[in-house]
Symmetry: C2
Subunit: 248 residues, 2 copies
C-alpha cells in the first residue's frame, strides 16, 4: 500500500488506513459474543453512524428497534430455529452436515439485538431517485446497516446479521406495521475475538473469489482496453493487501 495522501485535509492517510483495517477485519459474528453491556455513549455513536448513511431523496427511511427484552429475543430465536430446520432440508446430504455444524446466530448471547427497518411511505409517494428503481429506499436502509456494522467494529463490537427467519412472523412479534419492511435483524455485542477470516471461508463452504475475475470494462464480461490491463496487474499485486493490513 503506498503512502500517498488523500486530497483533502479532513481525512488523513492514517484515517484512511484505519478505515481499511476496519473494513477488512469486520466479521459476521455468531459464536463469540460476550454479555457485557454496551455503554449508551457507544450505542449513540454507532446509531449516528447509521443515521448518516446515504438515503435516496434524503428519505432517511430507517428506524432502529433496539431489542433487549429476553422474552422478545426468545420469540425471535424460536423463529430462527424453525427456519433453520427448514433451511437444512434444502441442502444436499453432503452440504447438510456442514450446514448443521455451523453456528449461525447469537440472538440470546448478545446483549442487544437491533432491527433496522425501512418506512416506504416516509416522505410521500414520489421520492427523488426512487421514481424508476423502486428498491432504492430498501437499499438506503442497507447502507445504514453497513455504516452501523463498521462503526461497531471500530468500537470493538461484533455484529451478526440474522436472515434465517420468516419475515412476516418477525413483523408480528415486533408489531411492525404493514408498510414497514424489516430490512435487517442484527445481534450486537462485545466479543471474545474477531476471527481472522469469514467463518464460511474457513469452514470450506466457499472460497474467496479472486477480485480480478470480477472486474469488467465498459460492458458485461468485456475484455480490456490495453491501458486498463494495468489495473488488473495492480489488483493481482494487491491480493494480499487486505490480509496484510489486518495482520496483528
Amino acid at each position: 500500500m503506498d503512502s500517498s495522501s488523500p486530497q483533502d485535509n479532513l481525512i488523513s492517510a492514517a484515517d484512511r488506513d484505519g478505515l481499511y483495517r476496519t473494513i477488512f477485519s469486520r466479521r459476521d459474528v455468531r459464536g463469540q459474543f460476550k454479555s457485557d453491556p454496551i455503554p449508551d455513549a457507544v450505542l449513540s455513536r454507532i446509531l449516528y453512524a447509521a443515521h448518516h448513511a446515504p438515503s435516496v431523496g434524503f428519505m432517511q427511511p430507517w428506524n432502529f428497534i433496539i431489542v433487549k427484552s429476553k422474552k422478545v429475543r426468545q420469540r425471535i430465536h424460536d423463529l430462527f430455529s424453525l427456519a433453520h430446520q427448514e433451511a437444512a432440508a434444502m441442502f444436499s446430504d453432503e452440504k447438510r452436515d456442514l450446514y448443521n455444524g455451523l453456528k449461525l446466530e447469537g440472538i440470546m448471547e448478545s446483549p442487544i439485538n437491533i432491527c433496522v427497518t425501512c418506512d416506504r411511505e416516509r416522505t410521500g409517494p414520489v421520492v427523488i431517485g426512487r421514481t424508476h428503481i423502486s428498491t432504492m429506499d430498501l437499499y438506503s436502509s442497507v447502507c445504514a446497516i453497513q455504516n452501523l456494522w463498521l462503526a461497531a467494529r471500530s468500537e470493538g463490537l461484533g455484529v451478526g446479521w440474522v436472515s434465517i427467519l420468516d419475515e412476516q412472523k418477525m413483523k408480528r412479534i415486533l408489531e411492525i406495521p404493514d408498510h414497514i419492511v424489516p430490512v435487517g435483524y442484527l445481534c450486537l455485542g462485545y466479543v471474545t475475538h474477531f476471527k481472522k477470516k469469514p467463518e464460511l471461508e474457513s469452514a470450506g463452504w466457499l472460497p474467496r473469489l479472486p477480485l480480478e475475475n470480477l472486474v469488467y470494462f465498459d460492458g458485461w464480461d468485456k475484455t480490456l482496453p490495453v491501458e486498463d490491463s494495468l489495473l488488473l496487474k495492480q489488483i493481482r499485486e494487491d491480493q494480499d493487501f487486505p490480509v496484510g493490513s489486518v495482520r496483528e
Copy 2:
C-alpha cells in the same frame, strides 16, 4: 465524544475517530467532479474494500463494470435525461421547480463510472441465509457499494449514485444478462470540494430527522423502559457530534 478505546488492539481510538469523520463527511457527489484520472493503485484499493463487504452465505455476488468509454457513458446519460424528464412530471408544481434546479448526476464529468451488479445464481439455488429472505443477495451488493463509497471518501474521491434510469435499458447498454441485477450505477472521481451537508438538506428539500425520534425499544413505536431513557438523553446530547467531527 469520549476517549475510551476500542477493546481490541487492531483498531485504535484514532482509527475509530477517522472512520466517523469519513462516515459523516461522505457525500453523494453530483456537481463537483474533476476529470483528473484515478490512479490504478487507488482504484484497486477501493475495489478490494467493496469485495470485502459482508455477503449472504459468502456468495460474493458482485461484479464491477468499470465504464470509461465516453460513448457508453453518453448512452447512459441519455437514459438519465429521459428518466429525469419523466420524474419531473411526477412532482407537484411547487416541488417541480426545485427538482429541476437540482444537479443529480455527474456521468460525463467524472472520469469513471462503475456499475455494481448482483449475480443471483452465483453459488446455485440454495444459499445460506437467503432461504427465507430472497433479497439478501441484493443487499450484499449494496453493502459492497457502501464500502466502496467510504473507501473512496477516505481517498479524497467523490461518489454519486445515479438511480434515475430505466434499469432494463441500462442492462441492454451494458450487455448485462437477464439473471444479473445492476444494483447501483456510480460516478467516481476527484472533487473540487465536499459539501458540508447533503445537498437535498441544504436546498431545503427535506430536513435531517432527529435520531431520537427513530429509535424504538422491543417493538415498533414502543415507549421506553426507564433505564433506556438514558440512551435517548445521550442521543440528544450527541446531536452535534457528527457536525462537530467534520468541522474543518
